[in-house]
Point group: D2
Chain length 267, copies 4
Amino acid sequence: MKPIRVAVAGANGRMGREVVKMLVQDETFEFVRGISRTQGGKDVGESIGLGSLGVTFSDSLESALLENRPDVLVDFTIPAAVKRHAEIALEMGVRPVVGTTGLAEGEIAELARLSEERRVGAVIAPNFAIGAVLMMMFAARAAKYFPHVEIIEMHHDRKLDAPSGTSLKTAEMIARNRPEIRQGHPEEKETLEGARGGYRHGFRIHSIRLPGMVAHQEVIFGGPGQTLTLRHDSIHRESFMPGVKLAIQKVMNLDRLVYGLEHLLEE
Amino acid sequence: MKPIRVAVAGANGRMGREVVKMLVQDETFEFVRGISRTQGGKDVGESIGLGSLGVTFSDSLESALLENRPDVLVDFTIPAAVKRHAEIALEMGVRPVVGTTGLAEGEIAELARLSEERRVGAVIAPNFAIGAVLMMMFAARAAKYFPHVEIIEMHHDRKLDAPSGTSLKTAEMIARNRPEIRQGHPEEKETLEGARGGYRHGFRIHSIRLPGMVAHQEVIFGGPGQTLTLRHDSIHRESFMPGVKLAIQKVMNLDRLVYGLEHLLEE
Amino acid sequence: MKPIRVAVAGANGRMGREVVKMLVQDETFEFVRGISRTQGGKDVGESIGLGSLGVTFSDSLESALLENRPDVLVDFTIPAAVKRHAEIALEMGVRPVVGTTGLAEGEIAELARLSEERRVGAVIAPNFAIGAVLMMMFAARAAKYFPHVEIIEMHHDRKLDAPSGTSLKTAEMIARNRPEIRQGHPEEKETLEGARGGYRHGFRIHSIRLPGMVAHQEVIFGGPGQTLTLRHDSIHRESFMPGVKLAIQKVMNLDRLVYGLEHLLEE
Amino acid sequence: MKPIRVAVAGANGRMGREVVKMLVQDETFEFVRGISRTQGGKDVGESIGLGSLGVTFSDSLESALLENRPDVLVDFTIPAAVKRHAEIALEMGVRPVVGTTGLAEGEIAELARLSEERRVGAVIAPNFAIGAVLMMMFAARAAKYFPHVEIIEMHHDRKLDAPSGTSLKTAEMIARNRPEIRQGHPEEKETLEGARGGYRHGFRIHSIRLPGMVAHQEVIFGGPGQTLTLRHDSIHRESFMPGVKLAIQKVMNLDRLVYGLEHLLEE
């Protein structure tokens, strides 16, 4: 089987580097071009500490897609750039695989329309960690049988916002599968404000912030005499690579846009 | 809606008591008769410490089913008795819900045949803890994406056998969904025999036995930069009741035998 | 060695029963009398489901201490009664072992004075679970090296107050051993109010309430690249018995009042 | 206060780099020289990616100590070199802080004698992760009250030996504080060989090996109705730096050799 030809926008960014590293180690892929406004002409491998790869950066997405004819464009650049990149790719028949949480619903809808018109597959996912996505899917499933639930998410103490995006997404997926009951003792008293956590969809989310942590989440379901706990621990951004790999493989057989890795796992 | 009429074999046993307690607290059920060879004629509630329920024990299953016309017979008696009970029930048009790990494959097949002939539903399950069953189902699912896995099961220190039945069942369900790779470093050395646990289907099972524990299991999946952990904790046999309740409700609409609670959860 | 003679006030209460059960199973103790205002004259064993013990309830503490000459009085009755009981015991030369969180500082001080005057030992402890006390002591110790910490306490959902008394006591012990730094990102934003938990002594306490839980606490310390977690799980009130046993043994050699089990563990 | 002058042997190794990074960020220290047989003359900062530090590598330990007069020599080089380095340092009045598990008891004794003769402090530690050392100390302490215990250690799957050195050290420290009882049911049956783990000092050690893990250990103590769990997670070698820092500070006031970080924590 011929390897899938992949170009990477933002190949010198933190996620981009991991993607290039993964691509060059896997024979089913061929890394054909890096795109970077600032690194044009340089060898991608040398720039990111892998040694010469014989693949250079282009400073123009269009030229790169024209010259190198990739099958797929992986894009982990900033939200502001991502939409325009995806449009260019779709119009040139190149399937975009995009990792961002920054797109508005309207923007996603526009890309979906373009993808369908051109019959060119596309994948956009806010989270490429397969373990995290499975945790969310399992949580949604368990909620049907265990309506009592709390979420504890734990991150490093340089994180600005609490609770995490993943915990809010999980809460939303759980909420769809259970009646909104208000948990805990009806006359519960919080003698220390905030102790019971943040209240959402009838249940609680708790955010821990400590040095020595990276990105972790526990969803605990309780019923009489038993608890069921789903936990995901991510300690390095290489944890996203199996999800990126899966998306590249699956997008080859799509003729529309898929939003969310969970829809690639559901088969 | 009319309540479902339920008789309980072994209503004075440890599980039977919990079942009766659950039935009388739930308006969608009507507890109509207890069956016990030794307690014939006594009030069930008084025998098991719930106060008079106005429902007596019968010392004959046939008579009880004839007189009280239950819709469902719940049976948590000893394996030796269970098969005969289920046959009697099926022949009299009463749906059996049976909790036992002691039936041979051949016996289950016979009951399945009888159930189908008579078009009377039946449920047999080795484990009624919905949390444990979900953990096993999720583990089987996760194994598709995370072939690296280990199981840690923890029980009280009066347990005789290691590893637990649930861990072996989980291992089997995982094995069906992943290639049998041999995990760990190929040149791994066990400087203390047994430290790496029991080897099964290419991966490891570890059994902890300590006072202060009841019945717990953790399934840990590992991939680059991430782990996914599924954990079930059971501290009381009331944890089986939501599963029993579900089985009673579902068996009403079955016309064949279902083995394993997971098949009632899959819809 | 002669067994230690023990009387139990509130022997028919939930904790009292466990104490009696422990005493009669241990040859180093002799259970000599139960005290109960309502059960006077009855056999203690029969009242609490252990079968006849040949030991009756007295409805008067004074008479019981006079008649049976115990070495120790174990008292798990209500806070309102406990102080008067301890005074009577100390004045009659009987060492009180008291489990309550309800005494005011002034009341404890008065009992301490009386104990010293009479040179009769006494133990009062808000928590007899040795594991919980060790967790608190270890937490206080770890805080010297890990100033970044959060507490997660988990209880059944019928608990009224949050956070738990144990978590507040732990927080206080930690606070004594670390500078009050404010943890987390200085510009941290709580997009869901309460998500970051209750703020106390510069760090956070989180309270989980779910069915299927009993009484659990986790203290997590974080430093660069590492975390240290101390966890206590209590699933039954028998968990308090080793602490009660230790207190009975130690009080025999005391000539003053000791408040808090930790001071009996420190040797 | 004048900063402590520190030289680093093996400053271009994996641990050496972390040490240099820590030293240059902390005003109470002055990094005065790197030692490396292969990097002589080069700027240390440039070699290890920190930018020019104005501190060069020496290829001779003696010259470096003579020229730069450090107070302390930090040494994380290979076991074969470590002993000779420490001898040279002690003879030249420089306090060695050594991280290695490779020294024989006899070698440590010799260094201890030399340290005492010269009245020059020294610290040798097999583990500089303060969290791991606290976990071991707490475990030893808890074993006095909880004789029932099991250890679960978890590492990445490229680790060769099982169980880990830390788990064996922990087991030894626990064993000193509890009678050697044989845990578990006396008639326990292992239906899968190895499931119950490795047997040592009367209890069990379990070794998990999975991708996505780094270095983790759990010590679980069980008693009636309760468990106490001590857990350490290390995900990066920067976790050793607070211990190295503490050792450098403490060695300044020592006039003998201390083996093991625990003895610096005990005050």
